[in-house]
Symmetry: C2
Subunit: 121 residues, 2 copies
DNA sequence: CACCAAAGTATCTAATTGGGTACTATATAA
DNA sequence: TTATATAGTACCCAATTAGATACTTTGGTG
């Protein structure tokens, strides 16, 4: 049993899923990597995300302490996003997940191919 | 860009999240580990899950090829769930995620403690 | 005959998540 | 004066996910 921000999790892996799960978070973290991106740049690299969702996910990542938000007080506005140390510590996991997914999709394709061939015999 | 079962993902890590994200899947996989569990046993180790959700998540995991379902044709019914090889290949990732979450929660707690002490000065 | 066990289904409802699109603020540039 | 750029908000609606609870199936047992 683990607690984080008024929520309880059976297993700390559930917490991890809660922090980086959802449709956009892992993608945002992954795109940030060791770079700094402005809001508008992020919309370009993740074209399918709506402004509402992007802002919402960034705020949640910020609340979780995974993303830093640097505001330049100028007009037109300029805001830069980057990973915190904690956010950076996730990169190896994201990388592993990425590779696992890639491999898994290939294997699956491969297995399907075998099944198909077997049926055609 | 990666494809899997009629869905497209920008990054294969998105696929991974799609396969093990959600509220119960990672927990189910983790509880299975290298064991075999019957449906009713699973309900005991994950008490909060409703029968509907448990069945649904198990079916999806089965469709993804991560979980095996072994039906004994007898009455009353007996069904055993276990991880496939692909499912087992996820265990190291789940373990890492688990440890990361644990560590992250501790660090967070620690940082909050520091902030609190700083304020009290 | 009535009841039990195990593994679910069925049905309805609630909560969460996601999306579309229009709008805002404001210094600077043309 | 009007337009522009940037980082968002506001509002309303759709889709997905989750939950509660009751019901089903069927051979064996008392």
């Amino acid at each position: 049993m683990i607690k984080f921000k008024n929520n309880e999790y059976q297993c700390s892996m559930e917490l991890t899923i809660a922090l980086i799960g959802g449709k956009w978070k892992a993608l945002i973290l992954w795109h940030l990597g060791d770079k700094t991106l402005r809001y508008s740049e992020m919309r370009k690299v993740i074209p399918n995300v709506t402004p509402k969702m992007l802002t919402q996910q960034l705020r949640e990542l910020e609340d979780s302490g995974l993303v830093k938000r640097l505001i330049y007080t100028q007009i037109p506005p300029k805001v830069e996003y980057s990973l915190t140390k904690a956010g950076q510590s996730l990169l190896p996991i994201l990388d592993t997940m990425c590779k696992w997914g890639q491999n898994y999709a290939n294997e699956y394709e491969h297995n399907m191919q075998e099944l198909k061939l077997a049926k055609e015999e």
